[in-house]
């Protein structure tokens, strides 16, 4: 080791790259199955009556959301952390055997957690709280995994050469702290087995909060799991990968600092917009609404900062599919952070809440912004990690257009479905009676559910192309030299 020059060590980043790809396909595959089930209910029993319990919509639905959030996205966050972290701190994982051990432990325990979660959700072991479905033993495992990541995170920061923390590191730190706080408080529960001296299922627990209070805590968590899982760490990624790939410095570092503090302060408040017209106190609903509108400012601060980073270099968008992915991601970020606040306005929410428009909003954010950014990050990392060119540029382009079409079909059909259903629910006839029975508002959605399923399927096809391209890049693509890896990622035809 002594005579070799020091290099960044991507052992752990690699492991998380694999899990990003695999869990991404799993999560989206389950999503596509769900979409087809909504369009054609016969799909619910596709593996026969005997297995219907495990293939029906309601049992699979938490598996879809959790596989995408805690599988795909979290893996992506960690893959990029173990890559970006070293580089902007100018310190190698190889310099600390302890951090390396923590990293391996982190990945191993994470894999154990994934298996436990998939198994328990399929068996129907759930607390019912969205994105917090896991029972207490898994919650404890998740907290341990999180703490190990935290030790690795602050450990690496502790031995850094670059004294000032780059903006991406700020966002990773915020992800760590935010999720830790939210997750623990939302999942506080009492295991009934121990509280009743050993009766019933050992893993079952009952929430610390009841009714309205439980709802407040859950959506304080639920909304901000989106904030600190789907926004903050993804911004961390784009603040590193877009400048690095394009060779352009961030448009304004000062603006990035301001948006950071703004986002940190404002985001949590907005959770109340999930509870408009419910039984939570009115002032809390109003705060949720108001702060959701205020949230446009820090969100757009980051989004515009990203787009302006490309100032004078827009030809790169046409030339490089990798830049295309990132620019489309920031554009979707721009639009979904406008769409969200619009839905949080009380009068709009009265129409949109409980409908497919909300589902559409989540998916233009996650498919358009989160997944595009994570895939772009992996594309940028792969040649540096595996020392090979991206296998095929034209496959990247194909994937880009297929998936973009998929997202567009997805959100347009869900917009129409949501608004149609919302309008039909509230329609009254000339005598003041309800104009439609509930089932009318379901059957009318069939074409939109079908279009959505097609859109989702296209996106999944793109994921398979992505996986194939990455697999080839890892195994058989042309080798590259360190000197070719400064900015624009080398790609084969």
């Amino acid at each position: 080791m002594e005579d070799r020059p020091l290099e960044y060590d991507y052992t752990i980043a690699k492991l998380f790259m694999y899990s990003t790809i695999v869990l991404g396909i799993v999560g989206m595959l389950v999503g596509v199955i769900l979409a087809w089930e909504m369009a054609f209910p016969a799909v619910n029993t596709m593996l026969g009556e005997g297995l219907a319990e495990y293939t029906n919509f309601s049992r699979l639905r938490p598996l879809h959301t959790d596989a995408v959030i805690f599988g795909f996205t979290l893996s992506g966050i960690w893959a990029t952390w173990y890559y970006v972290g070293q580089r902007v701190l100018k310190v190698s994982m190889a310099e600390s055997p302890f951090l390396m051990f923590l990293g391996k432990l982190h990945f191993t325990l994470y894999m154990v957690g994934v298996v436990l979660i998939v198994g328990s959700l399929l068996m129907g072991i759930t607390t019912s709280k969205e994105y917090a479905e896991f029972e207490w033993p898994i919650d404890i495992a998740i907290v341990i995994i999180w703490v190990i990541w935290g030790m690795g995170l602050f450990g690496l920061i502790g031995i850094r050469r670059e004294k000032s923390l780059y903006i991406s590191i700020w966002y990773y730190i915020a992800t760590f702290l935010g999720i830790a706080m939210l997750y623990i408080f939302n999942n506080l529960a009492i295991p009934t087995y121990f509280a009743s001296d050993g009766i019933g299922a050992w893993y079952h627990s009952v929430s610390m909060y009841s009714g309205t209070n439980d709802a407040i805590v859950q959506w304080w968590y639920g909304h901000n799991a989106v904030a600190f899982g789907f926004t903050v760490p993804i911004v961390a990624m784009i603040y590193y990968f877009l400048p690095k790939e394009s060779g352009q410095a961030v448009y304004s570092y000062k603006l990035s600092i301001l948006s950071f503090w703004g986002l940190m302060f404002v985001y949590i408040w907005a959770g109340g917009h999930h509870l408009l017209f419910s039984t939570v106190p009115d002032w809390m609903q109003t705060m949720g609404s108001v702060f959701s509108i205020v949230l446009i400012l820090p969100s757009w601060g980051s989004a515009i900062n990203m787009l302006l980073t490309m100032k004078g270099e827009w030809q790169q968008v046409a030339e490089s599919p990798l830049i295309k992915f990132m620019i489309l991601a920031s554009t979707f970020y721009l639009f979904s952070t406008l769409e969200g606040p619009i839905q949080a306005i009380k009068s709009v929410n009265a129409l949109a809440h409980f409908t497919d428009w909300i589902v559409g909003h989540v998916h233009d954010g996650v498919l358009g912004w989160v997944a595009f950014m994570i895939m772009a990050a992996l594309f940028h990392m792969a040649p540096r990690v595996f020392k090979r060119k991206i296998y095929s540029k034209s496959l990247m382009n194909t994937q880009f257009w297929i998936q973009t079409l998929g997202v567009i079909l997805y959100f347009t059909s869900m917009w129409i479905a949501g608004i149609t259903q919302g309008m039909m629910w509230r329609a009254h006839d000339e005598f003041g009676n309800l104009a439609y029975s509930f089932i009318d508002t379901v059957t009318v959605l069939h074409p939109y559910y079908t279009i959505r399923a097609v859109g989702g399927t296209l996106y999944l096809v793109g994921m398979f192309i992505f996986a194939y391209n990455m697999f080839k890049t890892m195994t058989s693509s042309e080798r590259v030299d360190e000197s070719e890896l400064q900015n624009a990622t080398p790609m084969g035809a």
Partner: protein, 230 residues
């Protein structure tokens, strides 16, 4: 002054944490000081109802059905009186849901009957043509977990002082007591007695036979739960 933070990860983390935690401290904590008071007529769940609630959760019914009637004419016309905070006092966890692929179930006990549910859970589209709800036939054979429901009852009674065995005011001015059994076998006996009342209105021969043999299938528990939603 500020830049100092950016070079000191510990204090930076503290500053970020305070910024994030601020909203929760102001918004959530004070509300907890005011304990949510049950409305008149709201009762804790019986053993069988709670077991049914667990079946509801196990199958993520809340993924498609809300339990929250918003204060709009269209919703009160369709589902009944809008929801009030106190009605949820014994709901751990809350089951408001976030999507209405199917209708709201907050007061489904007011307008659907045992045999309607029985037929509907077996074949939703047969009862409601065009329905996209999947059938839940395994509920007719899987057994409800009475033990866990009883364990949860004991837990909420001891930890959160849920008023089992106490007279509670009803809307008509009477008092009602929800009994909690002293022992596990007592809980089974009372759940079975309740199950027999439900099964009396059902047609499925297997289910009737199971209950006669002292077994409670999931379908009986979930119907008991849905009938209690009023």
């Amino acid at each position: 002054m500020f830049h100092w933070l950016e070079k000191n990860p510990f204090f930076f983390a503290v500053a970020v944490f305070l910024t994030i935690a601020f909203a929760g401290l102001v918004e959530i904590l004070p509300n907890f000081a005011q304990q949510s008071q049950p409305t008149v007529g709201t009762k804790p769940y019986s053993t069988l109802e709670l077991a049914g609630r667990h079946v509801y959760i196990k199958n993520s019914c809340n993924a498609c059905h809300s339990q929250l009637v918003r204060p709009f004419k269209a919703e009160t016309d369709r589902y009944g009186h809008y929801s009030m905070s106190g009605e949820y006092a014994y709901d751990r966890p809350f089951l408001w849901g976030s999507k209405r692929t199917g209708p709201d179930l907050m007061r489904v006990g007011n307008y659907r009957t045992t045999d309607w549910h029985e037929n509907h859970m077996k074949d939703p589209a047969g009862v409601v043509p065009g329905s996209i709800m999947p059938a839940y036939r395994w509920m007719f054979t899987n057994l409800a977990d009475i033990d866990t429901a009883y364990a949860e009852q004991i837990t909420v009674k001891n930890v959160f002082a849920v008023p089992y065995n106490k007279p509670l005011p009803m809307k008509d001015g009477s008092k009602e007591v929800v009994k909690l059994a002293d022992s596990l076998s007592g809980a089974h006996a009372s759940a079975l007695a309740e199950a027999k009342l439900v099964v009396a209105d059902m047609n499925d021969k297997n289910v009737k036979e199971m209950v006669n043999n002292g077994q409670i299938p999931e379908i009986v528990a979930i119907i008991a739960y849905m009938n209690s939603l009023k």
